[in-house]
Amino acid sequence: MKMEQFNDRNVADNGYFLVDIEDYPTDGWGKFKRVVKRTFRAELFVGLWVVLREMIKFDIHTVQYPEEKLPIGPRYRAVHEMKRLWESDAERCIGCGLCEKICISDCIRMDTKIDENSRKEVTEYTINLGRCIFCGYCAEVCPELAITHGGEYEQASEQREHFVDYAYMLTPLDKMKAGTQMEFEGFGAITPHEDERVKKTPLAY
């Protein structure tokens, strides 16, 4: 399934047109003429034919949900994911705390420490999905593109904690090795062709 038809917001070129509606008759003779016209133009049979045609064509649009799923857009904001660096498979999060700070429902909780290489390391990171409103601010603010939204919209579980701990959100290492980590394309992500648009910072003004 292509996403273009959903992303194309330019409705003007999509075959939309104003329906030509006649004025309603006001006098009795006009009403009578309308009834006769409608009766003998057999408008009802047009409707019958349309539905019968659809039945014969058998062009079924049902998505049998648990077995089949519709693709969701890359900007969809579902349960969060934590990405890893492509180069080293290390966690991208630098523990800056911006996401914790910006979260408007105050549902991100994190703890950091200085590790043996004198780098900041995240020790605790949880998102309380019971409070999260999936606004996407955390993904937008993250300087490292570490926290993003994934496409997992099925959130039925026995424990809401099932979704929220760091280990769950972090891209698994084997997925990293297989090179199948998906880059987030939503709000705050790098736009395509960013490389060409980047300008060198002049060293001297």
Partner: protein, 329 residues
Amino acid sequence: MDTAYLIETIIKVVVILLIFSALAGIGTYFERKVLAFMQRRLGPMYVGPYGLLQVAADGIKLFTKEDIIPTNVVGPIFKIAPVITAATAFMAAAAIPFFPQFTVFGYTVHPIVADLNIGILYILGVMAVGLYGPLLGGMASANKFSLLSAARTAAVFISYEVVSGLAILAPIMMVGSLSLIDFNNYQAGGISDWIVWSQPVAFVLFWIAAFAETGRTPFHLIANDHEIIDGFGTEYSGMRWGLFFIGEYANMFFISFVIPLIFLGGYGDGSMLGALGLIAKVAFFFFFFLWTRAAWPDVRPDQLMWLCWKVLMPLAVINVVITGFVMMF
């Protein structure tokens, strides 16, 4: 009245009851599937292969649900109303010949419970009594949507009855009998003998009235879900609601039998082919009920009354008069 006749009648009654209760259930399955296909959906798919057991699942649900009688309803009337709808639907079946007569083990079976000499009047009358179910149930429910629905029932009631009665008068004049078997024998000569060729207007009028009678889609205003919740059925639950349901679908099947019997030659000369032909005709009329539901919008109550009193009834009267003149000269 000898014992053999009594036993035969009882067996026939039980068979008709069982077959048409089951058909009412399967009818809902077909309705869902046909509507779904016409709307590019799949319909029930999960219970059983292709959702075939959905009927059983619904049946179990209806039978095991709690029977709730709300506090402010008029108890006895509230309780009896669904029974009226279901019972009259099946009572009407008594005068319908479902099949040509056939012989098993040297015993001739007439697949009609009672060949009344006023068969058509009886069927129309008893089917019309079925509308007392929605009327009484709606008025006894202490619910404004039910009350609206009861008022609409009364409106439908006084509108379509005239049309169906007058429409059928012309064929009755031609056949000179009120028994459906006589109607069938009148048309037994083949397709060219069908009454629909000599009475096309009566056929269309009666067909339209049948939609009002069964409360199917262009005239589905008695229990119009999107306007008045479920109308008279709003306060009903469990099997009482199920009885309304069975009554409605049984009515659809019976009226689908009556239309071909009166206008389209019924089972013809009584051969096996004729019997299969009748079943095919019934299937078409039942399918048409579902078809219109997918295709057509509902009319308002005032539009229905306008249609019945100002358009269909004059047409029916003119039809009767013309038939009379043609028969006289």
